[in-house]
Amino acid sequence: MYRYDQYDQAMVDARVAEFRDQARRRLEGKLTEDQFKPLRLMNGLYLQLHAYMLRVAIPYGTLDSRQMEMLADIADKYDRGYGHFTTRQNIQYNWIKLEGTADALADLATVEMHAIQTSGNCIRNISADHFAGASADEVVDPRPYAELMRQWSSFHPEFTYLPRKFKIAVIASANDRAAMRLHDIGVRIVSRNGEVGAEIYAGGGMGRTPMIAPLIRDFVPIDQMITYAEACLRVYNRYGRRDNKYKARIKILVHELGAAEYTRQVEEEFAHLLSVGVEPPREELARIAEYFAPPAFVDGPKTVDRSDPDFALWVDRNTHRHKHDAYVSAVISLKPAGGIPGDATSDQMRLVAKLAREYSFDELRVMHTQNLLLPHVRIADLHALWTALDEAGLGSPNMDTIEDIIACPGLDYCSLANARSIPLAQRISERFAQSGRTEVVGELKLKISGCINACGHHHAGHIGILGVDKKGTENYQLSLGGSEAEDVSLAKITGPGFDEDGVIAAVEKVTDVYLAARSDGERFLDTYRRIGMEPFKEALYG
């Protein structure tokens, strides 16, 4: 795992001092709320419905037990004993006070953590494949490249007042587990004739106008990747729309110019910047990569004793194939049936930290699906791990099932919401768990957003639910056929919306249609793609 040296530490410490000073000037009235807002946002501090919300960055979703324990301490000391893991691999605290924020940031800095650029119109925390460094299918570990980008994008002097927020995801596998093409820039690290480089996608995003990022460069040599990203950002900073905040994301620029013209401008800027020389020295990537050297794996058993069916189910559902055949990656579900997706109590965080120390080389991940992950678990240790998780309510065997719902905070916390997301997720997961249907249905990604901003990725759900406001009452629109993975697609709306009970019934109906129509091995998404929207519409409205 990456470790700060004295420079990284000094940067974060300087930022804490700067924020303390900004908060002081705000309290002294030297800064108006208008002027303070972008500054607090760049330190992850949002104003929500009831209180401030603090969003802490977990770069590329990787952390160790000491950091997880600090997240638990922050939850106890500054919040109400829990935190919420998000789709961008961060954690949010919902009940923060302005006065305590600088202290919380100082505490975080003692374990190499921060809230820098977790909101605001700047380059946000870089996300990555949560199986990075562990998965059997990756070309290389994408995290060194993400770390190089983290450093480049931190306090970037030119790109701190972009037209709008800017999100980057980095993967290094043909399989996309980071919704890479739904990011402002998506990077896939590839190898071509033995040379490592980057495929660059630009202009993806969700929100009110969802778009899939087109490929704009099929190979940037790795020692020019930062220069290329700088060119992408400069063209966006100069020409992205600033007249309308709903049209300010890079996806609109790429769409309005056309991918070819945007690419032409980027290439021109890229050629210029190559001559200026903005790329970090080559040795820097090598220095970073050393921190991500694989741990010392040892051989061991490759199978488990499946005599306990509950354990066997969990293994089938929640583990992922590892590079080393005596290991797997194990998903810790934060989706207990009827629970709040992504929430973890401080006690659960501490337990997970302890388990990471015991069973996973002290490494943890946050997944974009709002779950946690132990990346390197010996197959021989799986039963002991599962037993400990199960006792703590963290053993739900439901990865990628209909219970593994992504949901935004919605009307329970968010001032922009039209409708509640969390209670809906709770009711749906409970219903499917109780009827035993979860297993029958298999892989089905359900995603819920409380408004058109799409924080809950509803456009990318096999089933998506969007809260809309209908004459002052909460109403839900259903959509089908989205995917955030390598087979990326945007979901289509089924038709008129439903009330809360109605949308739950509608979800059941579409799964009925699927179960009746599926052929061998088909997921919900595959069946939908094969038979189209009509049969589903017929069942819903016919």
Binding site: W152, P157, E158, F159, N237, R242, H272, E279, P281, R287
Partner: protein
């Protein structure tokens, strides 16, 4: 109309140059392209700074206007001019606030004329915020990565 534009030199609150201040008014980018003797120009957020590149030799002052602090196009304009070799005064004017100073400095600005005078102490602290920097920019500072790998 062109006469009224620009800041007069006494509104410049911070200046990191030793040469004489340019004390005549700036003109628009469009006018600058037509007027072969102009030495001071003012860039608005929507202007393409690259239009000025053929005239850099004769320019002694470029003002970059920030009508709103949240509009960051001026940062790119500044860097583009410095990358093209402009060595004259580069002045940030308008909604220039404490917390933008250090970034502006890195993008090549060497004088600052804020709409509202800034607290001197706060500003001094802001200019000194970053003892080290991650990226290469217009200020030619050695980056953290450069320092890590120096022989």
């Amino acid at each position: 109309m062109a006469k009224d534009m620009g800041t007069s030199p006494d509104e410049v609150q911070f200046r990191f140059r030793d040469d004489e201040r340019v004390d005549h008014a700036t003109i628009t980018v469009d006018a600058c392209c037509d007027q072969t003797n102009a030495t001071a120009v003012r860039i608005e957020p929507g202007d393409d700074a690259r239009v000025l590149l053929p005239f850099l030799d004769r320019l002694a002052l470029v003002e970059v206007n920030f009508p709103a602090f949240g509009d960051g196009r001026g940062y790119s304009s500044a860097r583009i001019l410095r990358e093209a070799g402009y060595t004259g005064e580069l002045r940030a004017v308008g909604a220039v606030l404490i917390d933008q100073l250090s970034h502006m400095r890195r993008c090549g600005f060497d004088s600052f004329a804020p709409d509202k005078r800034l607290d001197e102490e706060d500003a001094a602290r802001a200019f000194a915020t970053w003892e080290n920097v991650y990226q290469r920019a217009a200020d030619a500072r050695r980056t953290i990565a450069d320092k890590r790998h120096e022989a």
